[in-house]
């Protein structure tokens, strides 16, 4: 790989051992992928920071980075961590929480700002900007919706990229690699099906960037749910979506597709039916915010909740359920805080910086989950091994107050 003189000096240790090791890793990984040079990045986003995910070995590594004087060179955010507050009075073990806090403490020392799976909300990248992001939904959103350029960086690579402000130039950092390889002609779907369609298309495309035509998204929130699902069942860093991807017309020029998939509405419907569930009972967790809610989305959901409360007739028994709205820190306008405080007595919690998916909900005593996110459904049912029901956001809010778990697929 060609290195500039400053990069040579970094790798030779002139700027400290942490930067030297970080660049060495990036160069070796880049070389194995055929990269010939490095590129500077403006934003790194680190994944895999939940103690339940990376364990003691992960803590050891991150604490060693701090000890060797590692600090980030560019804006660096990280994924949310496991929930450290309680669910109906029950928490993760003290020792587990203590280890999670050690990880956060070290990341803070390295210079990480914001813990969210939606870094595009806290620092929206510009068109054409190079990034080293690791979270699948965020990478898909940056490439597909904003026209920024990021591969899906695995493991500690994004943290190392933040420390040296560089990554290797390969994959979708190269414009010719952003062309779609398969064509998806999809029937239009409604709000309740969009997340399932994301899972379905992800299974079809595997490693190939699709061009997706025929879909309309009601709003950014549903686009986020769709892309998060796409990143759950595939490894692709981007999709090209008609009238969504800024440069979709250029990317489609002279494209020849390896495969074409025509998805009829009945194909999609029969895929969705796979997720039909038996009636579930016990202690429920209602979850909105996978991916994390933006400020506007949070306010919208809070207002929906308030108007639903006004519709409730008769006494409410919420003793066996909680509703979590997961988001990032920074929504603290007084008006919003007032809304949030007013909802506390209904077991509604706004949880910043955390993620239900990377928590062990089974250990918190959750018997079932109701969410509007098929990504959350897919991971929670695998990691926490509890039943998960997926319903549209507005239905979820209604169900939370009525506790009537019916779903018509």
């Amino acid at each position: 790989m060609y290195l500039s003189s400053i990069e040579e000096r970094i790798i030779n240790g002139e700027f400290g051992s942490a930067k030297a090791l970080a660049l060495k890793v990036i160069v070796k990984v880049g070389e194995s992928l055929g990269a010939q040079e490095l590129i500077t990045i403006n934003h790194a986003h680190v994944s895999g920071i939940s103690y339940l995910n990376i364990g003691d070995s992960g803590i050891e590594f991150i604490e060693d980075v701090v000890a060797s004087g590692g600090s980030v060179e560019v804006f660096t955010s990280a994924n949310p961590y496991m929930v450290i507050s309680d669910y109906l009075g029950k928490k993760h073990a003290d020792q587990t929480i203590e280890k999670q806090l050690r990880i956060i403490n070290s990341l803070n020392k390295i210079g990480v700002k914001f813990y969210t799976c939606a870094p595009y909300n806290v620092r929206p990248p510009r068109f054409g900007e190079h990034l080293a992001w690791a979270e699948s939904n965020a990478v898909l959103y940056a490439n597909t919706v904003l026209g920024a350029l990021s591969n899906k960086e695995g493991g500690p690579l994004a943290l190392l990229a933040g420390i040296v402000g560089r990554t290797y130039k390969s994959g979708v950092h190269i414009l010719s690699n952003r062309k779609p390889k398969v064509l998806i002609n999809s029937a239009g779907v409604n709000e309740s099906e969009v997340g399932f369609l994301g899972l379905m298309i992800g299974e079809l495309v595997g490693e190939r960037i699709p061009y997706i035509s025929g879909l309309k998204f009601r709003d950014t929130y549903h686009l986020k749910l769709f892309l998060a699902a796409l990143g759950t069942t595939s490894n692709i860093p981007m999709a090209v979506i008609e009238e969504v991807t800024p440069e979709y017309k250029e990317l489609m020029r002279d494209v020849s597709y390896e495969e074409v998939f025509n998805l009829s509405y009945s194909d999609i419907k029969s895929y969705v039916r796979r997720f039909m569930r038996e009636v579930i009972s016990g202690r429920g967790l209602y979850l909105i915010g996978c991916p994390h809610l933006s400020f506007n989305e949070l306010v919208h959901v809070l207002n929906r909740l308030l108007s639903e409360i006004n519709n409730v007739r008769g006494p409410l028994d919420l003793g066996s359920r909680e509703l979590w709205l997961t988001t990032y820190e920074g929504f603290v306008s007084n008006a919003v805080l007032e809304l949030v405080n007013g909802l506390a007595k209904y077991n509604v919690k706004v949880l910043p910086n955390v993620c239900a998916v990377v928590s062990r909900l089974d250990l918190l005593g959750v018997d079932y989950v109701v969410t509007d996110s098929t990504k959350a459904c897919s991971y929670i049912s695998r990691l926490s091994k509890i039943p998960v029901l997926v319903v549209p956001t507005n239905d979820l809010i209604k169900m939370y107050f009525t506790n009537k778990l019916s779903v018509d697929l």
Binding site: L21, S32, S47, S57, F61, G154, G155, P156
Partner: protein, 108 residues
């Protein structure tokens, strides 16, 4: 093989195969668990990591783990030829000092 689940990070023991510590680990590739690099790093700090690796299909996480831990890793472009050579070597006891003292662990 998976560095998360298949490998005991406190003992350097690969389930079903035995110790990887200080051996030449020959294997087709690892499943891309994001924890893999941390596990390799942690093994190396405890002096329980393989001395070197020969891999058929390395992924970026495996490379990351090896560079962080200073473990030499070689990509085998001729995997079938390598397997035959290793079998021959095992019969003829022709490996060098590292391998004869610590051994080779081949994971099919």
């Amino acid at each position: 093989m998976s560095f998360l689940g298949d490998l005991d990070v406190d003992r350097g023991y690969l389930v079903g195969y035995g110790s990887v510590s200080n051996k030449l680990l020959v294997f087709p590739g690892s499943s891309g668990s994001t924890v893999g690099p941390y596990v390799i790093y942690s093994l190396a700090k405890k002096s329980l990591a393989p001395a070197a690796m020969i891999v058929k299909n390395p992924d970026t996480l495996l490379i990351t783990g090896c560079v962080l831990s200073n473990i030499p890793m070689v990509i085998a472009s001729d995997w079938v030829g390598l397997a035959e050579t290793l079998k021959e070597c095992t019969r003829a006891r022709c490996y060098g000092k590292l391998l004869s003292s610590e051994g080779v662990l081949i994971v099919e």
